[in-house]
């Protein structure tokens, strides 16, 4: 019965997502939806390393941006989209491997700081290696790919293509997390020493997870490139790394829906709410602070907790325990060990 309900709501969600352009109306909102999806892929990718490996990266915009830059440069050089995409992902994985080797020298805050430094170096290179990146002017591309002959120029087909990539990402990450390797990864997050003593190669597990995270960051970077048809140093800035990290944390780390909710929150605030609220940056900051106060574990797990608490309370006595829904302590301490 429960499985049936789960299947039903999954199908309903899929149907809603697929038919979104039909009922959302304006192409502007369809584009916003595409952005939510592409940032959700990015956040899901980052969550692999932040949520499941317990390693906080503040340099992932570097990987995202390297994929976008590589794609843009290959396309500008005259290669086809297939070569550009494949090439960009290979380059991204190569750089992710280098990032991982360096960053995994540290754990906890050491890891964070190494990723900050790496991200800043990528930013410096993007800014300064003008012959390759065109400096602060950035690189424009004029076309989007046409898979199976379907043009992605218009908002709707681009949305559907992004949706397909998004669904593949969600499925891949869901399978990954539930797999024996995913269990091993979560083990290295919670008890790295113990895992080592149990026979696991903790370093290699983290390394591979970093590559997997980098791969999805790269895929998101390519979506970003094709969406904007433009990439510039701001794409790889520290603020961009911080932004996607905020998506992951605010939505809820180590959950599948959390990063998606976080991407939705940030993209909507930045792009839609900013049209109505002049001081949207202040409001966004206030929302983050409010999340920490009321749902320190993130929006998705926090809402679930409140929901469970509310329904249990209703089922029990109306005057049940008067205390607030208990906030689990340290439930989102990431890099700590």
């Amino acid at each position: 019965m429960r499985r049936l309900a789960a299947l039903g709501s999954l199908l309903l969600a899929l149907g809603l997502l697929a038919s979104l352009p039909a009922w959302i109306g304006n192409s502007y909102y369809v584009n916003i939806a595409s952005q939510v999806l592409l940032y959700a892929v990015f956040a899901l990718g980052l969550n692999v390393i932040v949520g499941y490996a317990g390693l906080v990266s503040l340099g992932h915009a570097g990987l995202f941006g390297i994929a976008a830059y590589s794609g843009a440069i290959l396309i500008t050089a005259g290669y086809g989209h297939f070569v550009a995409i494949a090439g960009a992902l290979v380059v991204t994985l190569g750089v992710a491997a280098l990032f991982a080797v360096l960053a995994l020298r540290g754990t906890g805050l050491g890891f964070v700081m190494i990723t900050v430094a790496l991200g800043q170096i990528v930013w410096g290179v993007a800014y300064r290696w003008i012959s390759l990146t065109n400096g602060d002017n950035g690189v424009s591309i004029t076309s989007r790919p046409a898979p199976f002959g379907l043009s992605l120029v218009d908002a709707n087909p681009f949305y559907w293509a992004t949706l397909v990539v998004f669904l593949v990402a969600v499925a891949a990450i869901a399978i990954f997390v539930a797999s024996p390797f995913g269990a091993s990864l979560r083990g290295t997050r919670d008890q790295p020493r113990r895992m080592n003593a149990l026979g696991y190669n903790v370093w290699l597990i983290r390394f591979l997870a970093f590559l997997f995270s980098g791969l999805w960051s790269g895929v998101a970077g390519l979506l970003f490139l094709y969406y904007n048809q433009f990439v510039s140093p701001q794409t790889v800035a520290l603020t961009a790394s911080a932004e996607v990290l905020l998506m992951v944390i605010s939505g809820g780390t180590a959950t599948l829906l959390g990063p998606i909710a976080g991407a939705l929150l940030v993209v909507i605030m930045k792009n839609v709410a900013s049209g109505y609220i002049e001081r949207w940056n202040f409001v966004l900051g206030a929302i983050f602070v409010a999340i920490v106060i009321f749902m320190p574990e993130g929006l998705v797990p926090g809402s679930l907790r409140l929901w469970r608490w509310a329904t249990r309370r209703r089922r029990q006595h109306p005057a049940g325990p008067a205390a607030m829904a208990p906030v689990p302590h340290g439930s989102i301490n990431g890099g700590a060990q």
Binding site: Y28, I32, R128, N137, G138, S232, Q234, K270, N271
Partner: protein, 411 residues
């Protein structure tokens, strides 16, 4: 049953029809307002210029009673956050959701470049003060109009003035390490060297440079220093320069000595010579009205950001008057814009070249203290300055765009 029409209603209708027939086209279209999209930056480090852009636009609409060519004018503002991706999204919002008739803004070159192709695809006219040279040169956008000028447009006359009137033989240039800086100094270099001057060094501090001392330590052995800083950097640079006890004269580009920035400067700015396509002290009726309005409404002496948007508004207005208030035919609308020739604007008379870039005055000013306040006083006006200066357009466009390494340093 036929609908009853009362006498008074009938009279009104006839009157309205008669009025409509008597007036030119705009009045007919009056029921549907003209929608103007403003792309600007209201949050983050670039907000300084962005807020002034919005002020300039608001003041213009206020002066026109929120009516252009007889049609009601509506402003939709998009905050780009100062980044290219945000600019793209806001441009989509303005074009696809709000269906604006044209866009004014954005502020920075990298913002404009991120949406250039997009607005061209949607045939949306865009009037920006972002100074990227190639937008009206090697990669022109047919829907683009620029009433402020290219990066180098004020630097060419500055170099001319420095070499011929100030008789400087050698200079060091210093400006931020980004395209706007390269283009400014490239333009300066070409004209200065043609006039027999020499660039000893070109220094490029990163945009974020809290302390300029590593660059100040390299400023010696020349007649003057050319500064092309933008945003809040001119303030930091000039102050640190003075504190360091350096005494070489400074000559500056338009935004480095922007009139709106003067209230933030101290004595270190006195004596600095700069060149700009707009100057607050220009004595024209429309500039007087503009400056007084800015002071009254916002308490600010305006600079090129507010003036650029005010003038963009004037260009759009003049074009609308030519098309009879119609914007449906985008090609006709943009052609009308590029054909605009105004005589009384805050920067004096100007018109556009065939690429959509302004041809107008460039003002050489000296910063002075008057009644306790810093002001830029115009000391020379170069008339009808275009983006190609005195160079042949064909030759100019055959050269690479000004960059960090082009023109290369001699010797």
């Amino acid at each position: 049953m036929a609908p009853r029409v009362g006498r008074r209603t009938f009279a009104k209708r006839v009157g309205a029809a008669a009025l409509a027939a008597a007036l030119p086209m705009p009045a007919i279209a009056e029921d549907k307002p003209i929608k103007i999209g403003l792309l600007t930056v209201k949050t983050g480090p670039l907000a300084q210029g962005g807020i002034q852009m919005e002020q300039g636009t608001n003041l213009f609409l206020k002066h026109r009673g929120h009516k252009l060519a007889g049609r009601k004018a509506e402003l939709v503002v998009g905050d780009t956050g100062g980044n290219p991706a945000g600019t793209k999204t806001k441009a989509q919002e303005l074009i696809e959701r709000d269906h604006v008739d044209f866009i004014v803004g954005p502020l920075a070159a990298f913002e404009l470049l991120a949406i250039s192709d997009y607005v061209a695809q949607h045939k949306c006219p865009i009037l920006s003060l972002a100074a990227a040279e190639d937008m009206t040169q090697r990669k022109p956008n047919p829907y683009f109009v620029r009433a402020s000028g290219t990066s180098a447009q004020a630097m060419h006359p500055l170099a001319d003035y420095a070499a011929k009137e100030l008789k400087y033989k050698s200079v060091i240039t210093v400006t931020e390490d980004f395209a706007f800086g390269y283009e400014q100094m490239g333009g300066f270099q070409r004209v200065f060297e043609d006039a027999g001057g020499k660039l000893a060094k070109k220094l490029w501090p990163p945009i974020v440079t809290p302390d300029y001392t590593p660059y100040l330590a390299q400023l010696s052995g020349v007649d003057a220093v050319v500064s092309g800083f933008a945003g809040s950097n001119p303030l930091k640079f000039m102050k640190q320069y003075k504190d360091q006890g350096l005494t070489l004269p400074i000559i500056a580009g338009s935004v480095a000595m922007d009139d709106a920035l003067l209230k933030s400067f101290g004595d270190e700015a006195v004596g600095t010579i700069s060149c700009s396509g707009y100057t607050a002290d220009l004595d024209t009726p429309s500039n007087k009205k503009f400056v007084e309005g800015m002071v009254a409404d916002y308490g600010n002496i305006p600079g090129i950001y507010a003036a650029g948007l005010y003038m963009s508004g004037m260009v759009a207005e003049a074009a609308l008057e030519k098309t009879g208030g119609k914007t449906d035919d985008k090609e006709a609308f943009i052609a009308a814009m590029r054909g605009v020739s105004l005589t009384d604007t805050p920067r004096g008379p100007f018109h556009f070249d065939h690429l959509g870039n302004v041809i107008g005055n460039a003002f050489i000013r000296r910063c002075e203290r008057k009644d306790g306040k810093l002001v830029n006083t115009t000391i020379k006006t170069y008339k009808d300055v275009g983006q190609f200066w005195t160079f042949d357009e064909k030759w100019f466009l055959a050269q690479p765009v000004y960059s960090r390494d082009y023109p290369p340093l001699k010797g």
